[in-house]
């Protein structure tokens, strides 16, 4: 297993009595792409600032490569940051910005020139050395910021919503470039975003934060397929979420009907919430459908139609389909047992993982 390069153990951060991080614990392995995902104000930047050393935790233990961070001042950490606003020095040109850290380290002039040239080529900005920062576009500035951080050969690169200021097209391009860069260099990236699509597309592992707590962590697929609670299900992709009851293992009841599912390990007749992803539902004829609904509205979204249906109880069901539906038509909805995901109320991440493991073993055995 790869070495843990950063560990947080019950880290707590408060600003004037306001608790910003509540006992956060996680481990970061060398060479992976991590994403901190969460709504505004949930503490993402705070975590980065703790790692970089701009602020100190009130409680808990932060270790970089096993060493307690209190012993390492911010300017001695092998961590570099790409700031939310880039923070490029306006009085220096592109070359001097990128060379800043190298000059602080007092590298020989020749070596600095070579290094700057290399990283600028890496971010496809060769020939821009003499430009002033004010003469660069948003996307170019962002690359300068990445180049400036990379020039120091950090072990961990912290990126605080570096793509949020870019337009959609450039943003998509940069997502590929960043991911590619990370894989090529093998540096650990900790990437902050509040865009769930971005997180799913880029990460090896995602930490989902809410109100200063890590709600769930895991690979993009795990989190997408098995959201731990309503917050995660809602935050990661669109979802249909309804109240239900776990009649028995692998049998769940919602909208007054019983459905076969693949979840288990819960109490009999326990109240639960049920998630169905819009793209997992198919519209068929009423006879073939597991559920009967009326098409209410539909929107063309480019790749698919977003169709909103209403069942007899008045629950909304959003369906993504490449085929057009007729508004007002009575149709059936079809889905497989494995498309149904059941969430318990107030289940912690450890309990959730333990339960998944136990009944998966059961299934295999």
């Amino acid at each position: 297993m790869a070495q843990n390069i950063i560990t947080f153990h019950n880290v707590r951060k408060e600003y004037d009595d306001q608790v910003v991080l509540k006992d956060v614990s996680f481990e970061i392995e060398q060479g992976k792409f991590y994403t901190l995902l969460g709504p505004s104000g949930c503490g993402k930047t705070t975590i980065l600032r703790l790692i970089a050393g701009f602020i100190e935790a009130n409680q808990g233990d932060i270790r970089l490569e096993g060493k307690k961070v209190n012993d390492i001042p911010a300017n001695k950490r092998k961590v570099n940051t790409v700031f939310q606003d880039y923070a490029l020095f306006p009085h220096l040109n592109v070359f001097d910005n990128v060379a800043f850290g190298l000059r602080i380290k007092k590298l020989p002039k020749k070596q600095i020139e070579q290094k700057v040239k290399d990283v600028l080529r890496m971010v496809q900005l060769s020939g821009f050395e003499e430009r002033e920062i004010s003469e660069m576009s948003g996307g170019q500035r962002q690359r300068v910021a990445i180049a400036r951080a990379l020039a120091n050969e950090p072990e961990v690169l912290l990126l605080d919503e570096p793509l949020s200021a870019l337009d959609l097209k450039l943003r998509k391009d940069m997502q590929y470039e960043l991911r590619e860069l990370q894989q090529r260099l093998g540096i650990t990236f900790i990437f902050v975003t509040h865009d769930q699509e971005e997180a799913l597309a880029m990460s090896d592992e995602i930490f989902i934060l809410n109100k200063g707590e890590i709600v769930q962590s895991g690979t993009p697929v795990d989190i997408y397929d098995e959201p731990i609670n309503r917050f995660v299900a809602d935050f990661i992709g669109e979802s249909n979420i309804v109240k239900g009851k776990m009649v028995d293992d692998y049998l769940v009841e919602f909208v007054g009907k019983k459905f076969e599912c693949v979840d288990g390990g819960m109490g009999k007749n326990e109240s639960v919430e049920v998630v169905l992803r819009p793209e997992d539902i198919q519209i068929t004829s009423p006879e073939k459908g597991k559920m009967h609904v009326t098409v209410d509205t539909q929107l063309f979204r480019g790749v698919h139609y977003e169709i909103v249906c209403l069942d007899e109880e008045g629950n909304e069901w959003v369906v993504h389909s490449t085929r057009k539906a007729t508004e007002g038509a009575h149709v059936g909805l079809f889905f497989e047992p494995e498309d149904i995901h059941v969430m318990r109320f107030g289940e912690s991440e450890e309990e959730f993982d333990a339960r998944l493991e136990s009944y998966e073993e059961e299934q295999e055995g």
Partner: protein, 271 residues
């Protein structure tokens, strides 16, 4: 539409400029070519450049203004820096600005009281056993009081420059490995330079033409261009010569503004 409206709005401003800035300057330039007898002449300039007294006076003015500016800068920069880090910085800034509302003459008289032979400073010197000293009417007291008066005008622009600075520049500098000293000299100071330049302008230019203080505090031992102009207009009634010195002063001010003004960055292009 916009440009038309803008033109209308700018009328008062342009009128003001014409009446109170352009016209007086032209008048001074015109006057400087008029001799004592009322004829057009270059005599005033000849006298000025031939007289070692005038040249020394000019040199002295520049030197004193330079010294005052330097002292004010050395005191004001750290003050503005520390001020910017305090909790109630607006309150502290207010306290520093407050004295500028007091009339200059009042402050001058106050200092006469403080520095005089029987003033509080000499009482103190006596008390600690040094004995009274002549403080008033020395170069020291002149520069001290001038600096005291000018300090707020230097602190304000520097404070503003520091306050406006994006704090993430400092984080970025530390992030890239710089210690506090390196961060100050390579990031904070260069980025506050515009504030320093405005402050230097706001202090140096008035210091060139100080005349009341030279009399009241400097006791006429310090004679600057300002004093000379006052002398020519009020006492010797040689308006031509006074205007000539005025022109020299205006040129000196323009030079300072050019040196400290915002320079267009040299455009060094790639390739």
């Amino acid at each position: 539409m916009m440009t038309k409206a803008r033109r209308v709005y700018s009328i008062p401003y342009v009128l003001w400029l014409l009446l109170f800035v352009i016209a007086p300057v032209l008048l001074i330039v015109y006057q400087s070519f008029i001799g004592m007898d009322g004829s057009y002449t270059l005599d005033n300039y000849k006298t000025y450049f031939a007289s070692s007294t005038y040249l020394r006076m000019t040199f002295n003015s520049v030197l004193y203004a330079f010294l005052i500016t330097l002292i004010v800068l050395v005191i004001s920069y750290p003050a503005a820096y520390i001020l910017n880090k305090t909790k109630h910085k607006q309150l502290w800034l207010m306290l520093i600005i407050l004295p500028t509302w007091v009339n200059l003459l009042l402050k001058a008289y106050a200092f006469i009281g403080i520095f005089s032979m029987h003033g509080s400073v000499n009482h103190f010197l006596e008390f600690i056993g040094i004995g009274p000293k002549q403080l008033l009417f020395t170069d020291f007291s002149f520069i001290f009081v001038a600096a005291y008066i000018e300090i707020p005008f230097m602190i304000m622009p520097i404070f503003n420059a520091l306050e406006e600075m994006n704090p993430s520049f400092i984080s970025a500098s530390v992030d890239l490995g710089a210690n506090a000293w390196q961060t100050f000299w390579q990031v904070i100071f260069p980025l506050s330079l515009n504030g320093v330049k405005s402050g230097v302008q706001a202090v140096f230019i008035p210091s060139l033409s100080l005349f009341m203080l030279t009399r009241l505090i400097g006791g006429n031992r310090v004679i600057t261009l300002g004093t000379a102009i006052e002398e020519h207009f009020m006492v010797t009634q040689n308006w031509g010569m006074g205007s000539t010195i005025g022109v020299v002063l205006i040129i000196a001010m323009l030079a300072i503004m050019l040196v400290t003004g915002e320079k267009k960055k040299k455009r060094r292009r790639a390739n």
